[in-house]
Point group: D3
Chain length 165, copies 6
């Protein structure tokens, strides 16, 4: 716990000289780890209506975004410079439509049994799913905004469970 505490006080991706490195995780334990991340994209009434009706065969925006998010979770190590390559074991993305705010809430859950966590995988899945929705709706609305990308929960590993307040 002392060590955990100490680790919390510095940026682990840099060594003592301030040089970026991929930190050694060999000594960590293989445990089941999961991460749950969320985000939101807010759009115009018209764009929102088109996404909503997509489920009814006019074009499945959310189906495309879901795949994009899952695929992105598999290549986090190629996007985030110091992230470890990880063979994720599970990835799923859910969307919830908020009719009042014309917003789509995105939740990604990623799981693995390994020596390091999958927060970045879940967060990246959310971000790329949101960007894909933007891409597919931008002919209708360029003013969409992606927000509230955050880690909701993290389990497994030495530091135990993290749950967003």
């Amino acid at each position: 716990m002392d060590r955990d505490h100490e680790q919390g006080r510095k940026l682990t991706h840099f060594d003592a000289a301030g040089h970026a490195h991929m930190v050694d995780v060999s000594a960590k334990e293989d445990t089941r780890r999961e991460a749950l991340a969320a985000g939101r994209i807010t759009m115009s009434a018209e764009a929102f209506r088109l996404v909503r009706s997509g489920g009814m065969a006019k074009g499945d925006v959310l189906g495309v975004a879901r795949l994009a998010g899952i695929m992105a979770a598999k290549r986090v190590d190629q996007l985030i410079p110091l992230a470890h390559p990880l063979a994720i074991r599970k990835a799923e993305i859910d969307f919830e439509l908020d009719d009042d705010r014309h917003a789509i809430d995105i939740v990604a859950r990623v799981g693995i049994t390994d020596k390091t966590g999958v927060e970045m995988e879940a967060l990246t899945a959310v971000a790329i799913a949101a960007l894909t929705i933007y891409d597919m709706c931008k002919a209708v609305d360029k003013g969409m905004e992606i927000s509230a990308i955050r880690l909701l929960e993290k389990t497994g590993g030495k530091s135990g469970r993290y749950q967003r307040a």
Copy 2:
């Protein structure tokens, strides 16, 4: 303009049957196009202080995030399923530190001379730069939040200039 208007009324990434496709841009003109996108990551006072001091050789978080964002702009077509492959000609990312809110504001500018715009490249650069900052600071603060990813401005192309209100 009529056609522009009409185009604005549907999701161009789907055909009449609702099937996703990569829309044909061959007939569009090669023009100089630029896109400017922005976003923000908000963090704890402690994480913010570590990022800020990074410029003074304790570990250059923003330098790493800048590179990650630029590199991501080059592979948008592999992340966003229906995005066209594009040989971008310019990419730059700036950060501004907001001491009051413990936030880092990210702005990406991408340029090209081609038949289609680079909004997705600029937005993706912002998102990946923000996620990289998250990755590098997560040992100190897991509660960071990425927000306000949006297109600020877009020039070039038939539809002309877009500027966020």
Copy 3:
């Protein structure tokens, strides 16, 4: 035409010494080029029924396969060793369900304005779409077979139109 004829008589991806190379296409003209390729996957009655019903919200196998094919068309140069990198401008995939044979016919159309053709892009899109269908149905039927992957038509370029007999 003589040169065309002669070119037809050897494997252009090898030089005089038999060494593989990426052949120089600089001198070729930029013309509009399209390629149309097709293929088929045949499966058990049960798997076929599940794919068919997928359109009705039990899981959209063909929607996933369509995206996989389109995305593969964008990275042909990373899969086929001597293929030129190409910024394709259009890609679409259609499926036709053959109830009698429990087969799905796949057709991909890819377009570009460039110095070299997109046959490989269309053929690869078909192959990866078929493999994705296999992946999604393999829990139900491991005996599926992918067949008849072929070029149907090719337009543009010096050699003119090719149409499969």
Copy 4:
């Protein structure tokens, strides 16, 4: 076995709501798994003769195709949307020339010790090897056809050995 049976009755890549996901394989056992897949490419007499003579230093078409297939087996998770990332341990590809039909038979064998099988890796290796042969011979014959891509055998895992009838 009941569960196996039941699993066989639905498309495992979709959840109860019909949404695509990367299915959780964490609970599966690490066992040695192998997959053997095959396919064929049929071509004109002239193209076939050129491939055959390639072994004799005019240009080693099959050597290039073998490498392309092996490399493709390593990136299946980037091609097939819901495939798990896997660190394959063995990959080999053999070709057999059928002089009577001007066809090349392709067989790929892939091995791993992991929680999920490598059918997709073997099938993708076959498909990309065949496409590479197409690419290298297309200046001589555009009418080639790729067929009979199928799983021959699969060992390891809870469901045990699969052998094509």
Copy 5:
């Protein structure tokens, strides 16, 4: 010329504030550009003998290395952080065996018609070809050394021809 001179005096990949960026090349002219780079790998007598005999069907080390180099030239923009994505038009690699020194000399030539040069593509092709030779011979000799990776010649572009002294 003044501007050229001035450009030569600073690191163009950084802006005035010292921040890395992908420099804007939009204003440059499309000209035919080629780059010729070379390198060498020196090895033990035994390893050298095995590579040499490979041409005689015991395993074509140089054929594999040639493909690896060509493929690497196509993905320079994903390896070198600030390199522009480029659709190269030609790539070839030659090897020369130096029996006296047990060395293999590698020469790569890459061509394009674009706004920026292909030095990095040629140099990367050489480096990856050399590394591939290392990989294939390392069971026999771990002491191999790669050296003399350098640009031999560069043509096209405003700065004209560069030829190594």
Copy 6:
């Protein structure tokens, strides 16, 4: 030991028929393995001075090169055709500036616990870091030379410790 000896006498990446394959490593033991590789880039006095001053905020060439090298170590299996995909656990790169020779010495250390070693990862990290330095300085000096890329040390695995003489 006999087998080890024998293995040392042939190129393991080829089978008995001389065909390239990804050799089966399943039977090997999971052990902690590390590799240490080095290389050097030599440049003009002016380029060297600019790199050196970069640490003082005119543009951090070595910081960019460090990241490029680390990221390349993560994708060796996509660059070196017969290399196994590996989830490396640690990667770090150090630079030493040699004022007398205007050279930068690069050392990469990569670690893993797996069935096969990470020599190629460490060597590739060195090569790509050097190429990145070249890229960033080439506006000032095209005559830079990359040399002495070699394995310094390797630990773990059946063959035990290798240390360069």
